[in-house]
C-alpha cells in the first residue's frame, strides 16, 4: 500500500516509545513557557514616537512656525518610516512630534532622526536653541503607582520620603523609570528685598552672577616637591543655606554687602506649584479615612520585555520592608495602579476560559465518539496549546488578551484534525477488516491528505489578517499568527500523538457495527424528506432560493436600518477612568485646584468609586492613551487631572463605561459653573487616538480656520450623543507686554537683555545653581526670586531697578552702577496672547474634538448626522464645506474639514480586513481548484460564505452588540470553516457518483453521511466560542462564530447539495 505523508508519520510514531515522551515533553515545555512568558493585559505596541522641543526665545507662534516648525517638519518627513509629523508652534518654542510606522525599530528611528536633524541644524535661524529630543514609548507608561499620603505630613515631607523609597527601588532588577509626581522639592530660596537692594545699590542680576561665581570648586593641578605630587585645588561649593547667605555680593561704601543683607535666604520647600491630593471615596474599604490628604505619587515603569507582575511584586515586597523603618508610620502607602496584578488576573481568567472551552468541546465530541474518543481528543488539545505557548515565548510575544483569545478562538477548530483521525480509526476498528495496527494506518492514510488540505484552508482564511496595518496591527496580528501556529501544531499532533493514543485507548467494540444500509438511518430519512421536494420541483426550488435570498437581504438590511451598528471596538470594563479639567488659559493654579477639588468631591459620592487622586499643575501618571494624547505635557496652571479608581470589576454590577456615562452630567455641571471644560477619559479598548471624534479644519488662514472651527464646535454641541466637546484653540489670555524704550535705555546704559533677565528673575525666578550636598537625593536648586507678595501687579514690576552699565556722551555722563527704575525704561502694552499653531503633515490645522456617548455610541453615525449640518455652514466665499473621510484636502486654498480620530483607525482596519477577506476568498478558491480540478465546483462550495451573514448580522441584533473589528475576524475565519464543510459534502457526492450512484441519491446520501462530522466540527467551534461571549471586546468574534456557524451550517446542508444538483444536472443533460 502506498503510504502518504500522514501514513508514513503514523507508522513511525504509532508504536514508538518516543511518542509518549514527546507528548509529555511538549506539555512540560508548554507549562514552563506559560509561566515564563511576560504577562500583560494589552499587547505591546512598538510605535516609535519622538517629541522634539525646539526653543526659540522671544519668537511669536507665527515666527516659530515659519522659521522652525515648517523647515524641521519638511526635513523630518523625508526620513523613511515616518508616518506622521505633527507640530505645535507656541510663543517661544515649538514641539514637533514624529510618529514612525508601527513596528519600526525604535533605536534605528532615533539615529535616523538625529542625523537628519543635525544635517539641517545649520539652516536654523540664529536664536534657535539646541532641540531636546525625547523618545516616547509604551515602556514609559508606569505599571505601578504608589501613592504616599498622610494626615499629618505636608507635601514637602512626603516627597522626601518618596524620593528615599524611589532610590531604594532603583536597585531592583528590570525596573525602569521611577518618578515622583507632586510634592514640593527642597530649594534654597533667595527672596529679594526690593527696598534693601536699592539701599545697597545691588541689582538682582549681580546677585545671580555672584552666586554662580561663588559656587565653584576646581582642581588647579599639581606640582612636584621632594618626589611627591601635591594637588592644588581652589574654591568651595555652597553646601548649605548659610553658605549662600554669607556670599559677598558687592561693596557699599567701605563695607562688604552680604547676600543676607539684601535678601532672606530660606532653605525649605519650593513655592507651591502643584496640588496633589488623595482621598477615599464611597466604596472605600471599611474604616478608611474620610478626608482628603496631601499626596505624592511614586510611579514605576518596567524595562522593555520584562514581566510587569513580577516587577510589581518585587517592588511591593521592598516597600513593605521599608515600611518597617524608613517610611514614617503616619505616611500611608496606597497602591493606586498595578498593571502587573490586572495582567495576571486577566491572563489567568483567560487560561481558565481556555480550559472551560476545551472541556466543553470534549463533551460535545464525547456525544458522538464515546468517552474514549473524547479522551483522545481531549489529550491532544493541551499538547497543541502547549506548543503554541512555547512559540509565543520564543517569538517574544507576551501572554495578553489577544494572544490568549487567539487560542480560545481556535479551540473549536484545532480539535477537528484529531476528531477526523480518531473518528476514522474508530470506524476502521469497528469494521474489523484488518489487524488493529494495519487498520489504524489505513484509517490515517485515508483521511490524512484531506485533513492536511482542510487545515491549510483554515490557515489560508486567518493568515491574511496579519496584513492589518497601522496602530491596530499589533492588536490584531497575534490572532492570525497564534491561530495559524495552533492549526499547524494540531495537524502534527493529529498525525503523531492521536494515532498513538487512539491505538491504545480505542477498543474494537463488539456489536457496534457499521451501518451498511444508509437509507435506514434517521439522517437519510430526514434529508430525503427535506431535499427531495426541492430536487424534484424546480418551482419549490426557486421558492427556497427566494426565501434564503430574502433572509440574506433582510439580514443585510439591518445594517442601514441601524439595528446593528458598526464600531471599531466596544468599550472594555476597566477599573479606572480619568477626568481631565481644562480651565480657560490664564486661570490661577488655586482656582484650577478649587474646581478640580469640587469635581472630586462629587466623584467621591459615586457608589462605585473606591478612591480618587487629583493632580493640579502637574500631570497624573499617564497610561497608553495619555501617551498618545500627550497628557504628560499637561503641566500648566490651568489644567487638572483626576484619577478615579473603581472597585474591582468582579465586585460591581455596572460596567466602567456605564459609570463614566453616569457621572459625566454631574462633572460637567460643576465644570460649567466655573467656565471649565471637563472630559471623562476612559481607557480605549484598542489603539488610542487624539479623541474619538476629531474634526480637522484646514484653510487659507488661521482666522478663517478658527471661525469655521467655532461653527463646527457649535454643531458638535448641538448634536445629541456628542459629548465632551472641546477644541485646540486657547482662550484669550491677557499679556502685559513691557516694551523697552530703546532710546531711553541707551541713554541710561541699560540693555534690553538686562531688562528681560531682571523681569524673569523677579517673576519666574532663576535657578542660579545647586547646593552641593551629599545627603539629598533630589538636587537642591538655589533660586533668586521676588517674594510672592511683591510680584502681584504691574505696579510691583515698575518699581524694579536695573543697574546701568554706564554711559558717556558729550553732554552727560552716567557712572556705571547707577540704579535705574524699570518704569523709566518700559511702556506697558496690554495684549492677547497669540494662539498656538498646530500643524499636521505639513499643513496648518485646527482640531475640534469630542466623544460619543448616550444617544449614539459609534462615532460613524454621529459623523453622518453632523455632515448635513456642517455642509450648511456659511463660510466666506459662499461655498459649502463637505467633510472629507479618507484623505486630507488637496489644497489649503479653500476651507475644508476632514474627520479623524477613531474613524481613521476604523476605516483603516475595515479596509485592511476587507482586503484580507478578498485575498482569503481567492486563496480558498485556488486551493479547492487544486484539489477538485474544476473551476465550477469551488464556486458552489463558496456559496456557504455569504450564507453566514444570515446568522451573523441578526446575531448581533439579538445580543444588542456592535459589529466590530473582531466580528469581522469571526466572519473571515468562518469562511474557512464553512468552505471546509462544503468540501466534505461535495467530496462525498463525487465519490458516490464515481461508484455509480445516481445524482439525486448521491446528493441525499452525502448530506446524510456528512451531517455528523459537519455538525461535530461546527458544534465544536460554536461551543468553543461561548466563553468569549463574556468579554466585551471579543464578544463580536463569538457572536459571528456562534450565530454564523449555526445558521450557515444548517443552510449549507440544504443549499449546497441542491445547487450542486442543479449545476450537475444541467451540465450532464445536454
Amino acid at each position: 500500500m502506498n503510504d502518504g505523508i500522514a501514513g508514513k508519520l503514523a507508522k513511525q510514531f504509532i508504536n514508538s516509545k518516543i511518542t509518549p515522551l514527546l507528548m509529555v515533553a511538549a506539555l512540560l515545555v508548554g507549562i514552563m513557557a506559560t509561566f515564563m512568558t511576560p504577562r500583560e493585559e494589552e499587547p505591546q505596541i512598538v510605535v516609535p514616537m519622538v517629541d522634539l522641543y525646539i526653543p526659540y526665545p522671544g519668537a511669536t507662534p507665527a515666527e516659530v512656525e515659519l522659521r522652525v516648525a515648517k523647515p524641521v517638519e519638511r526635513t523630518l518627513t523625508e526620513i523613511p518610516g515616518v508616518d506622521y509629523v505633527y507640530s505645535t508652534s507656541m510663543p517661544d518654542f515649538a514641539v514637533v512630534t514624529v510618529r514612525y510606522k508601527v513596528g519600526e525599530d525604535a533605536e534605528k528611528s532615533m539615529v535616523k532622526l538625529w542625523s537628519t536633524l543635525m544635517k539641517n541644524m545649520d539652516k536654523m535661524p540664529p536664536g534657535v536653541q539646541f532641540p531636546l529630543m525625547k523618545k516616547v514609548s509604551i515602556d514609559d507608561v508606569p505599571v505601578l503607582n504608589l501613592t504616599f499620603w498622610s494626615k499629618t505630613k505636608d507635601p514637602f515631607q512626603l516627597r522626601k520620603t518618596a524620593v528615599g523609597v524611589a532610590d531604594e527601588l532603583k536597585k531592583i532588577k528590570n525596573i525602569g523609570d521611577v518618578e515622583i509626581k507632586g510634592g514640593l522639592k527642597r530649594q534654597v530660596k533667595i527672596v529679594l528685598d526690593k527696598e534693601k537692594l536699592r539701599q545697597f545699590n545691588v541689582s538682582p542680576l549681580q546677585i545671580a552672577r555672584q552666586v554662580q561665581l561663588s559656587n565653584s570648586q576646581m582642581r588647579a593641578g599639581d606640582f612636584k616637591q621632594m618626589n611627591e605630587e601635591i594637588i592644588v585645588r581652589s574654591g568651595r561649593f555652597l553646601e548649605n543655606a548659610d553658605d549662600v547667605a554669607n556670599i559677598v555680593i558687592g561693596i557699599y561704601g567701605s563695607s562688604p554687602v552680604y547676600l543676607r543683607d539684601v535678601a532672606s535666604v530660606v532653605d525649605g520647600p519650593e513655592e507651591v506649584n502643584n496640588y496633589n491630593f488623595f482621598g477615599w471615596a464611597a466604596a472605600a474599604p471599611n474604616g478608611s479615612a474620610s478626608g482628603e490628604y496631601p499626596a505624592v505619587t511614586l510611579t514605576v515603569a518596567k524595562r522593555q520585555g520584562s514581566d510587569a507582575s513580577k516587577l510589581a511584586d518585587k517592588v511591593l515586597a521592598r516597600v513593605d520592608n521599608l515600611k518597617k523603618g524608613f517610611i514614617p508610620a503616619d505616611v500611608t502607602v496606597t497602591e493606586t495602579r498595578n498593571y502587573g496584578a490586572t495582567a495576571t488576573d486577566k491572563v489567568f481568567t483567560l487560561l481558565e476560559h481556555l480550559i472551560v472551552a476545551v472541556v466543553a468541546v470534549t463533551i460535545v465530541v464525547g456525544f458522538f465518539l464515546g468517552w474514549r474518543g473524547a479522551l483522545v481528543v481531549f489529550a491532544s488539545v493541551p499538547i497543541t496549546f502547549a506548543l503554541t505557548l512555547l512559540i509565543y515565548y520564543l517569538l517574544d510575544y507576551s501572554l495578553n488578551r489577544v494572544t490568549l483569545f487567539a487560542l480560545i478562538f481556535v479551540t473549536g477548530i484545532v480539535v477537528d484534525d484529531s476528531i477526523i483521525i480518531a473518528e476514522n480509526i474508530h470506524r476502521h476498528f469497528a469494521m474489523k477488516r484488518q489487524p488493529k495496527l494495519q487498520a489504524a494506518i489505513t484509517a490515517i492514510n485515508e483521511v490524512g491528505n484531506p485533513t492536511i488540505l482542510a487545515t491549510f484552508t483554515v490557515i489560508a482564511a486567518v493568515l491574511p489578517m496579519v496584513f492589518v496595518s497601522g496602530l491596530m496591527g499589533p492588536y490584531m496580528s497575534p490572532m492570525p499568527i497564534g491561530a495559524s501556529l495552533a492549526m499547524i501544531f494540531s495537524l502534527l499532533v493529529a498525525l503523531i500523538a492521536t494515532p498513538w493514543l487512539a491505538f491504545r485507548l480505542l477498543k474494537t467494540e463488539e456489536g457496534h457495527h457499521e451501518e451498511y444500509d444508509i437509507t435506514k438511518t434517521g439522517y437519510y430519512r430526514l434529508f430525503n424528506t427535506i431535499l427531495s421536494p426541492f430536487i424534484e420541483s424546480s418551482f419549490k426550488r426557486w421558492i427556497a432560493f427566494g426565501v434564503v435570498g430574502l433572509m440574506l437581504a433582510g439580514a443585510i438590511l439591518l445594517v442601514p436600518m441601524k439595528a446593528v451598528q458598526m464600531k471599531m471596538l466596544p468599550f472594555d470594563n476597566k477599573n479606572e477612568f480619568q477626568v481631565i479639567v481644562d480651565m480657560p488659559e490664564g486661570t490661577a493654579l488655586e482656582q484650577t485646584a478649587r474646581v478640580t477639588k469640587e469635581i472630586s468631591a462629587y466623584l467621591k459620592t459615586v457608589p462605585e468609586v473606591r478612591s480618587y487622586q487629583y493632580y493640579v499643575g502637574i500631570n497624573a501618571p499617564i497610561n497608553f492613551n495619555g501617551l498618545v494624547r500627550h497628557y504628560y505635557m499637561r503641566q500648566a496652571k490651568n489644567m487638572g487631572d483626576i484619577q478615579v479608581n473603581l472597585v474591582p470589576k468582579d465586585e460591581r454590577k455596572a460596567q466602567s463605561h456605564d459609570i463614566a456615562k453616569k457621572v459625566r452630567a454631574g462633572v460637567q455641571q460643576i465644570a460649567r459653573r466655573y467656565n471649565a471644560n471637563a472630559k471623562i477619559v476612559e481607557i480605549p479598548p484598542g489603539p488610542p487616538v487624539l479623541s474619538t471624534l476629531v474634526a480637522e479644519i484646514y484653510g487659507p488662514s488661521q482666522e478663517q480656520q478658527i471661525a469655521l472651527a467655532r461653527q463646527v464646535k457649535k454643531v458638535f454641541q448641538e448634536t445629541p450623543g456628542v459629548v465632551d466637546v472641546d477644541w485646540m484653540v486657547e482662550d484669550d489670555q491677557k499679556v502685559y507686554d513691557l516694551v523697552v524704550n530703546k532710546e531711553r535705555a541707551a541713554f541710561r546704559g541699560v540693555s534690553a537683555e538686562q531688562i528681560a533677565q531682571t523681569l524673569r528673575m523677579s517673576l519666574a525666578g532663576m535657578d542660579v545653581g545647586v547646593l552641593h550636598t551629599d545627603k539629598e537625593l533630589d538636587p537642591v536648586t538655589i533660586q533668586v526670586r521676588l517674594p510672592q507678595s511683591d510680584r502681584t501687579s504691574l505696579h510691583d514690576l515698575s518699581t524694579l531697578f536695573v543697574q546701568s552699565q554706564g554711559m558717556g556722551t558729550l553732554t552727560t555722563r552716567l557712572r556705571a552702577g547707577e540704579m535705574i527704575p524699570l518704569s523709566e525704561l518700559v511702556t506697558v502694552q496690554e495684549k492677547i496672547q497669540e494662539k498656538s499653531i498646530y500643524r499636521k503633515d505639513l499643513r496648518r490645522v485646527v482640531y475640534v474634538t469630542a466623544d460619543v456617548a448616550g444617544a449614539t455610541e459609534s462615532p460613524v453615525y454621529a459623523m453622518l448626522n453632523m455632515d448635513k449640518k456642517i455642509e450648511q455652514l456659511k463660510v466666506p466665499g459662499g461655498y459649502s464645506v463637505s467633510p472629507l473621510y479618507t484623505a486630507s484636502p488637496a489644497s489649503d486654498e479653500k476651507l475644508a474639514m476632514k474627520w479623524d480620530g477613531e474613524w481613521q483607525i476604523t476605516f483603516e482596519v475595515f479596509r485592511d480586513l476587507g482586503t484580507a477577506f478578498a485575498v482569503v476568498l481567492v486563496i480558498i478558491y485556488l486551493l479547492i481548484i487544486g484539489w477538485f480540478q474544476s473551476f465550477k465546483t469551488p464556486l458552489i462550495m463558496m456559496i456557504a460564505i455569504p450564507l453566514s451573514l444570515v446568522g451573523i448580522i441578526p446575531g448581533h441584533f439579538v445580543h444588542g452588540a456592535f459589529f466590530t473589528a473582531t466580528s469581522m475576524i469571526g466572519m473571515i475565519a468562518l469562511a474557512g470553516i464553512m468552505v471546509r464543510n462544503s468540501v466534505l459534502l461535495i467530496d462525498f457526492i463525487q465519490i458516490r457518483r464515481a461508484e455509480g450512484a445516481d445524482l439525486k441519491r448521491a446528493v441525499i446520501e452525502s448530506a446524510a453521511v456528512r451531517t455528523k462530522p459537519i455538525i461535530l466540527t461546527s458544534g465544536a467551534v460554536v461551543i468553543g466560542s461561548l466563553v468569549m461571549l463574556f468579554d466585551p471586546i471579543f464578544q463580536g468574534l463569538a457572536i459571528s462564530l456562534i450565530w454564523g456557524g449555526v445558521l450557515s451550517t444548517i443552510l449549507t446542508l440544504v443549499v449546497v447539495p441542491i445547487v450542486y444538483y442543479i449545476v450537475e444536472n444541467k451540465s450532464s443533460k445536454p
Binding site: P155, V272, A281, A588, E590, Q788, T792
Partner: protein
C-alpha cells in the same frame, strides 16, 4: 447538549457572586455618616471682601487669622451654602492691616471661617448662630 446547558448556567454562576459582592458595598454609608458629624460652633464667619490697593488694582482680602498652613500650603475654611466646611487652598500676597491679599482660590462674597481652629475639619457643619460680618471697606 449538556455542554450547552452548562454554558447557559455559566453566566448565572458568575452572576451569583456578583450579586453578593454588590450587596456588601455598604461602607459608603459609613463615610457619609462620618461626614455628618455633630455641628461645630465657630467664633466668626466672614465674607471675602474686596479693596482697592495703592496701585489702583482691586484685590480680595481675608483676615490673617482665617488662614492656616499645611507645610508650604496655605488654606482657609470656606463655609458653603449648606453650612458645610471645605478646605480651600489659596495663595496669598502682602498683608493689609491684619488682612491678607488673596491672589487665587477665592471669590468675592464667599464666606470663610474667621479664625481657623485645629478642631475644624472638612465636611463638618458649622452653626450659623454667630454673627456674620459683611462690611465692605471703601
Amino acid at each position: 447538549m449538556s455542554a450547552d446547558i452548562k454554558m447557559k448556567f455559566f453566566p448565572f454562576l458568575v452572576a451569583i457572586p456578583l450579586l453578593f459582592a454588590g450587596c456588601s458595598n455598604q461602607n459608603s454609608e459609613s463615610l457619609k455618616s462620618r461626614s455628618k458629624a455633630a455641628p461645630v460652633a465657630v467664633v466668626s464667619v466672614v465674607a471675602v471682601r474686596s479693596a482697592v490697593e495703592a496701585g489702583g488694582d482691586e484685590v480680595l482680602l481675608v483676615p490673617a487669622t482665617a488662614i492656616f498652613h499645611k507645610g508650604e500650603l496655605t488654606a482657609v475654611f470656606v463655609v458653603g451654602a449648606d453650612n458645610r466646611l471645605t478646605v480651600r487652598w489659596i495663595s496669598t500676597g502682602r498683608s493689609m492691616r491684619g488682612d491678607l491679599v488673596v491672589l487665587g482660590g477665592l471669590d468675592k462674597g464667599e464666606f470663610v471661617v474667621g479664625v481657623s481652629a485645629p478642631a475644624l475639619v472638612e465636611g463638618v457643619t458649622v452653626i450659623k448662630s454667630v454673627t456674620v460680618e459683611d462690611q465692605t471697606h471703601e
